[in-house]
Structure formats: structure tokens, C-alpha cells
């Protein structure tokens, strides 16, 4: 109790100093506490704000990303009516992780060999014991197989889905569409030509629309395959084109190829005969020679006469005819019976320079103009283009072009004389038709109609007629070059035709490679007997689909040719 009260005892200076220090310490502590609290509160506020933000704008746990759009891994390919020709689907893949296998490896190898017999037990066992981390056992596995593999219950077997290219129409237009590798890169056809567009993320959402018409394609393929089987030909090709726009409505090459299993197809089947194969197409060239001569003013009327002896000896060679006249004959008759001798003389008058210029303008001397990458180089006399070669080229020998060349040539000849490149894309607002260049005059184009109609009504193409559809066209039978020599034993027969002839709209070329004579053809293997009838049936099938109305009362103006055809007296 002797402690002095502050009031009574005067504070000592050191004590006073102590009090001041305490106060200072206290304020400092307050400040620090306040600061700590602010920091703490700030952090909490940040967290709360973040939570609130996430609650308002954030995703929730159940959100599934990447499903909101339906963009395939690779773009679809559809025909002009939207029928899918190629699609990407999810396929099953069976893989193997040898390290993760826990069961008995020998039993597993036995089971795998049972399910997938492409390898034997030993091979599977070797895989299971190897140090590799992963094997593909099967890609594009069928659902049944996947189920069976899943039933084994081995964690080392991996079942996964991966995008796979499917061609729902199987072999339909296989050579146009092409196919892809297993990793989804185009290696042939449109798949190859438009690989970038089809795989680019920006453009693959839209299907690629082709000019192909699936129904026309099917009809053409079926009829051509029928003819090919009937006459045991080794191959065939066919093209249907719209002559005004250059759209290819159907293009086929036989033997058939299934693009779903393209690897299993033979090289022969993978070969596109319509654009990659070049052939001497024979007499189907004659209309071009006549048209060139008309355009150059050499032929003034179809009544112009040429001497048509049984054989023509020129430049050390002899030219033969299958139906020799042995008299004077008019241009109309030369065309009607497909006279090589007559055409050779017309070509001779025309001359090599003009012939080459015309062929150049029609695109016959270069690779065919189309989007595909598989395009064959044409074979021409080249530097040896002398008078004899001019004659042979005049009737379609000594020059080898693709069937698509021939189709574009006929389109040029009958659409009013304008060359337009062929296209595989549908011509509409998004894709305009190719730029045209004039080759023949409109007059020539018009006059040629009746000449080709004459071939079908009275000449070699009688069997190619489809009643009511006014088919006009030309047969072609060319001998094949076997071992450096032309042989009549093997031929390439073709028919190039246009319908309806009074107002041409479509051109079709059909070709058979090495057809054999049969009993029904009386031992002939010329175009008139094998490809001609096939052409007629195909036209009567596809013309209604293409909107061509049959009318037996309509014909092109035949008054230009009929007076110049010598009628045999009939007794």
C-alpha cells in the first residue's frame, strides 16, 4: 500500500517516457491489426466476388463442351440433289496396350486369333509380349466384333471411336469421288482434288456439292457394266455431260472399285479410264474433221462429192473401209457409213496446220480440263504431224485422248460451237460455268445436227437409237496397238452421241475396251454391235430423268442431208 498514487507522486521522467512509448506501441499495433484485417477482408471479398461472378456467368460442372455444333471431321460430298456420296462417321477401333494386360497372354492370343483371323496366335502372342506400348488390332471394326472383344474383359484391349470415311453408295461414282487414306487424307478423285476444302475447319461444315446426278450415274454404270460383262470386255468408260454448262452428270470407269475398301481393289480397278486413260477413239473423230472442213470453207454442202474407191493408197500406206463404196460418194454418205477413205481426203484438204489449231482450241492436245488430279496426257503425232498423220488423225487414229476429251469435244460441236471446260462442281450461283471460247461457228454446229442424226437413223449407229429421244451420234471402232502393231483382234469401241438432236442438251460417251464378238453380234465386235445398243438403252433410261421428253414426231431438219444419200433400189 505504499505505492504512490499518481496524483500524489510527481511522475518521474523515465516513467513518463515509458507511458509515451506504450502509447506509440499501441497505435502501431492498431495500425498493423487494421492493415491485416483489411488484407484479410480484401482477400475474402475477392473470393466472394469471384464466387458470385462464377455463379452468375461461369460454367457449371455438368456442362459439355464441343457438342453444340455438328461439324464433321471431314466435309461431306453430296451429289447435285443432295444425296450423300461420302460421309464421315464414328467407327470403332480396337487397340492393344501390351503393358496393361493382366490376364493370361497365351489364352488371350488364342481368343484374339479366333476373333480376328488376319494374324495367327503366334503373332498375337508376340505382340502381347513385346515392349511396344500400343498396337492397332483393327480399325473400322464391325460392331459385332467390338462387342465380342469387349466381352473378353481385358483392360489391355482398348476400344475407341475415331472418325472414319464412309461411301454409302459403295462403288457408285467411285472414280469421281476417289478415296482417302485411313488417316483421312484424300488420295484420289474429288477427295484428293478438294482435300483442303474438305478438311479445313472453316469450310468442312458445308457439304461439297458435285455436278454428278446419282441416278444418272447408276443407270450409266449399270448399263455399261452389263455390256462389258456381255461382251467380255476388259474395261469400259462412260461420261454424261450437260453440253451448255460443261457439268459432268455422270462419269464412270470399269472395272468397278469400292472406295470403302480401296486398298483391296486391283490397280486396274483403281485406274480412271475416263480421265486418265487415253485411247485412239477412231471414227468418233470424223464429225470433228467434217466440222473443221465446213468451218474452213472446204465443205460447202453435205452433197459435196469425193471419190471413194475400195482402197486408197497414199504416202506409201493403204487406207481401207469397212463398208467400201467403190464409187463417188457425198459427205453425207461418208458419214453415214463411216468411210475412212472419204474422211482422209477431207482431212488432207484441211491440212495439218488448221487441224492442229482446231484440236488445240478444243483442248485435245493438252490434259483434259477438269478439277481432278488424275488426268492423262494425250498422245499425238507431235513433231511428225505430216500429211499422212493429218489423214489418220482425221478419222481418229494416231491420236489418243481420254473419253472425257471426246465428250467435251462433242459438247463444243453441238452447243453452238463454244468450248467450255468440264466441271465436277454443280453450276449455280456459288460456282459459275467455265469461261467459253468459240471454236466452230454457230452455222456449222447447227448443220452437224442432221449429219449425226443421219448416222443413227440410217447409218452405222442404228442400234444406238432410243425411239422418241432423237439421238444423234457416231460409232467408233479403233484397233488396239498390241506389241507395236495394230491388230483387228483387239479393238476399242466407242459411241459418242448427243440427245435430243433437234435441240441438243446432253452428250454421252460410252466406251468398251477390247469387247469380244458373240453369237448375237454375228461375229462382229464393232461399236455398232456392242456399245451401240447399250447406248440406246442408257439414253432411254436417263433422258426422262434429265427432263428430255420423248416425242416421235420431232426430228432435226434432215433436208440438208437426206437428198445426198444414195438410196439403193429395193426389189
Amino acid at each position: 500500500m505504499n505505492a504512490p498514487t499518481p496524483a500524489l507522486v510527481a511522475p518521474r521522467p523515465e516513467r513518463l517516457r515509458l507511458v509515451g512509448q506504450r502509447r506509440q506501441v499501441l497505435t502501431m499495433m492498431h495500425q498493423r491489426l487494421m492493415f491485416g484485417m483489411l488484407v484479410y477482408g480484401g482477400v475474402i471479398a475477392l473470393i466472394v466476388l469471384r464466387i458470385l461472378y462464377l455463379a452468375a456467368f461461369g460454367d457449371h460442372a455438368g456442362a459439355k463442351r464441343g457438342l453444340t455444333s455438328l461439324v464433321p471431321e471431314r466435309g461431306d460430298i453430296v451429289d447435285r440433289d443432295g444425296v450423300p456420296l461420302a460421309r464421315t462417321i464414328d467407327a470403332w477401333t480396337i487397340g492393344l496396350h501390351p503393358k496393361k494386360v493382366i490376364g493370361d497372354k497365351l489364352t488371350l492370343a488364342r481368343k484374339l486369333a479366333q476373333l480376328m483371323p488376319e494374324h495367327d496366335e503366334a503373332a498375337y502372342f508376340a505382340m502381347l509380349r513385346s515392349d511396344k506400348t500400343f498396337y492397332y488390332l483393327r480399325r473400322r471394326a464391325a460392331p459385332g466384333l467390338v462387342e465380342a472383344v469387349n466381352a473378353i474383359g481385358e483392360p489391355g484391349l482398348a476400344l475407341e471411336r475415331e472418325p472414319d470415311r464412309l461411301y454409302p453408295q459403295t462403288s457408285l461414282a467411285a472414280h469421281v469421288i476417289g478415296f482417302t487414306t485411313i488417316d483421312g487424307h484424300g488420295v484420289a478423285g474429288v477427295e484428293r482434288a478438294f482435300d483442303k476444302e474438305l478438311s479445313d475447319a472453316a469450310s468442312r461444315g458445308r457439304p461439297l456439292q458435285l455436278s454428278i446426278d446419282a441416278r444418272v450415274q447408276q443407270a450409266l454404270e449399270h448399263e455399261l457394266l452389263f455390256a462389258m460383262t456381255k461382251f467380255s470386255a476388259i474395261g469400259g468408260a462412260g461420261v454424261v455431260m450437260n453440253i451448255h454448262t460443261g457439268e459432268v452428270l455422270a462419269m464412270t470407269s470399269l472395272p468397278q472399285l469400292n472406295p470403302n475398301t480401296a486398298g483391296e481393289g486391283s490397280p486396274e480397278a483403281r485406274f480412271n479410264r475416263a480421265t486418265l486413260g487415253v485411247y485412239e477413239l477412231g471414227s468418233t473423230f470424223k464429225p470433228f474433221t467434217v466440222a473443221m472442213a465446213m468451218d474452213s470453207g472446204i465443205i460447202k454442202s453435205f452433197g459435196q462429192m469425193y471419190s471413194c474407191p475400195r482402197e486408197l493408197h497414199v504416202y506409201g500406206h493403204t487406207i481401207h473401209d469397212t463398208h467400201p463404196y467403190g464409187r463417188m460418194c457425198s459427205v453425207a454418205e461418208i458419214m453415214k457409213e463411216s468411210s475412212n477413205i472419204g474422211t482422209a481426203q477431207i482431212a488432207d484438204q484441211l491440212g495439218a496446220t488448221r487441224q492442229k489449231a482446231f484440236l488445240q482450241k478444243m483442248g485435245f492436245l493438252n490434259r483434259v480440263n477438269i478439277e481432278l488430279k488424275e488426268r492423262g496426257r494425250t498422245l499425238t503425232p507431235g513433231a511428225n504431224w505430216g500429211p499422212l498423220e493429218t489423214m489418220t488423225v482425221g478419222f481418229g487414229h494416231g491420236i489418243a485422248v481420254t473419253p472425257l476429251h471426246l465428250a467435251t469435244g462433242y459438247a463444243t460441236l453441238f452447243n453452238g460451237g463454244v468450248y467450255r471446260p468440264a466441271t465436277l462442281l454443280k453450276v449455280d450461283r456459288a460456282h459459275a460455268a467455265g469461261k467459253g471460247t468459240r471454236v466452230f461457228s454457230e452455222q456449222t454446229s447447227y448443220k452437224m445436227r442432221s449429219l449425226l442424226r443421219l448416222v443413227v437413223t440410217q447409218g452405222t449407229g442404228k442400234m444406238a437409237d432410243a425411239p422418241g429421244y432423237r439421238v444423234g451420234g457416231k460409232t467408233g471402232t479403233a484397233e488396239k496397238l498390241v506389241g507395236g502393231r495394230y491388230t483387228s483382234a483387239a479393238v476399242v469401241t466407242s459411241f459418242a452421241g448427243v440427245f435430243p438432236m433437234d435441240e441438243p442438251r446432253y452428250v454421252m460417251v460410252m466406251m468398251l475396251d477390247d469387247p469380244k464378238a458373240t453369237k448375237e453380234t454375228y461375229g462382229f465386235h464393232t461399236a455398232a454391235w456392242n456399245i451401240g445398243p447399250a447406248f440406246g438403252t442408257t439414253v432411254s433410261r436417263i433422258a426422262p430423268m434429265l427432263g428430255v421428253r420423248p416425242d416421235k414426231n420431232r426430228e432435226p431438219d434432215m433436208s440438208m442431208v437426206l437428198p445426198f444419200v444414195h438410196e439403193e433400189a429395193r426389189h
Binding site: A55, A56, P84, R87, T170, G468, R549
Partner: protein
């Protein structure tokens, strides 16, 4: 006073309430958005299913397969040029109703006038029967009358027979002939024939016997007599037979 002291509590409470309300609203929005997303996902999944099903249907019903079915089973072929029509009128022509043969009236009436002018010539032969038939001119009887002429014309025989034998046999004979005529169908033609053919036949005869024919054109009574007598022989024997039997026997 109490209100003032609790003011801060009210403030805190209202702030908390507002914050809770805002939070609830945002929670509600978030859940709505989530369910919308879920629906969108399901739509995409459904579209994917549709696509794969379409692909499968398209693959199973591919054109090559349809073609195969057509070749094997249906055997449909492209239409020929004649199967295309110009328009509605041509189509309507195809559906034109078929003409039905009306057996009753027109046939009978056409034959009716034919026998009447010739009947006067028969007066001598069998006046009673013929006139009776003409009087009761129902359609069925007229037909009989018309057909009656034909057999007369056919069955001319050179064998002369007595008149009296023919007359009693007349009535049943007529019935038989009527049945025959019914079987031989085209009544009007045959009905007209006798009318026209008889003069022609007479003309031929006239050619043979020039003078007599010219002077006496009516040779019919004689022939009529010849016709009927042929019938009596079987008629007498077959009188009891039914008419149908005799009709088929012929």
C-alpha cells in the same frame, strides 16, 4: 430510440437480403441456362443420331442395291416414248368407258323392217304363221321372224316335197329355228340377208333360165315349198324331242 439503436442491424439485414435476392436470381438464371444447354445438347445428339440413321438407311438402300432388286424381282424398265402423254386430254382418252353391247332394243328394231316387205311373198307358203308373227310384234318374236329367213334360204333342196306335209310341221319347226338363230347371234345381219339375197338368187336363176325368169319373177313360192319339206322328215321323228336337243344336234 430503439429504432435508432437497431438501425445498423436493419441495414445489415436488408443488405444481406438484397445480396441473397441477387444471388438467388443469378442462381435461377444459371440453372435456366444450364437446362437450355442441356436441351441444345440433346438436340445435337438427336441430330447426330438422325444423321447416322440416315447414313445407315442410305447405305442399305443404295442405288446399286435397288438396281439389284429390280433386276432380280421387279424387272421394271424405262418407259417407252409412247407411254408419255401430252396432257390431261390424252390421259382422259385412256380412261374412256368401254362400249357395252345393248342387246335389247337397237338390234331388234334394226331387223324389224327388213322382213316385212318380204312377208307378202310368204303369204302363199304359210300365210297363217307369218301374219300371226307380224301382228304380235314383241321384240323377241321379231327376232325370231328375222332369223327365220336364213335357214329357209340355206336349206333349199332339189327334192320336191308335198305341201301338206310341210304345213303341220310348221309350228315346232319355227321354235327350233328360233333357238338356232339365237345361237348364231347377229340377228340383224341375217335378218336382212334374206330380203336382199333372194332377189340376187333369183337373178342368178334368171341367168340360167332366161326367158322364164324374165316373164315370171316370183319363183319363191316354189322354193318355200322346197324348204319346208326338208324339215318334216326329222321333225316327224323328233317331234317329241326338246327344242334344245335339236338345236345342239345341228
Amino acid at each position: 430510440m430503439s429504432a435508432r439503436s437497431f438501425r445498423s442491424v436493419f441495414m445489415v439485414a436488408s443488405c444481406a437480403g438484397a445480396a441473397l435476392g441477387c444471388y438467388l436470381v443469378s442462381l435461377n438464371v444459371a440453372s435456366e441456362r444450364a437446362s437450355l444447354e442441356d436441351v441444345e445438347n440433346r438436340i445435337v445428339l438427336a441430330q447426330r443420331d438422325i444423321r447416322s440413321l440416315q447414313t445407315e438407311i442410305g447405305t442399305r438402300g443404295r442405288l446399286a442395291q435397288l438396281e439389284r432388286w429390280n433386276v432380280k424381282v421387279l424387272a421394271l424398265s424405262a418407259p417407252s416414248a409412247d407411254q408419255f402423254l401430252e396432257g390431261g386430254f390424252q390421259l382422259a382418252r385412256l380412261a374412256r368407258p368401254q362400249e357395252k353391247l345393248n342387246v335389247e332394243a337397237p338390234v331388234v328394231l334394226a331387223s324389224a323392217p327388213a322382213p316385212q316387205p318380204t312377208s307378202p311373198s310368204l303369204v302363199e307358203g304359210e300365210p297363217t304363221v307369218e301374219s300371226g308373227a307380224g301382228a304380235t310384234s314383241t321384240a323377241a318374236q321379231l327376232m325370231r321372224q328375222a332369223s327365220l329367213k336364213l335357214p329357209e334360204h340355206d336349206e333349199v333342196s332339189p327334192v320336191p316335197a308335198p305341201h301338206r306335209v310341210a304345213e303341220p310341221a310348221k309350228v315346232p319347226d319355227m321354235k327350233q329355228k328360233a333357238v338356232r338363230a339365237a345361237e348364231l347371234k347377229p340377228a340383224p345381219l341375217k335378218g336382212q340377208k334374206p330380203a336382199e339375197a333372194k332377189p340376187a338368187a333369183t337373178a342368178k336363176k334368171a341367168g340360167d333360165k332366161k326367158v322364164e325368169a324374165a316373164s315370171n319373177p316370183v319363183t319363191k313360192p316354189v322354193r318355200m315349198a322346197k324348204v319346208d319339206p326338208l324339215a318334216p322328215l326329222p321333225v316327224k321323228a323328233n317331234l317329241k324331242k326338246t327344242t334344245k336337243d335339236s338345236g345342239t344336234a345341228r
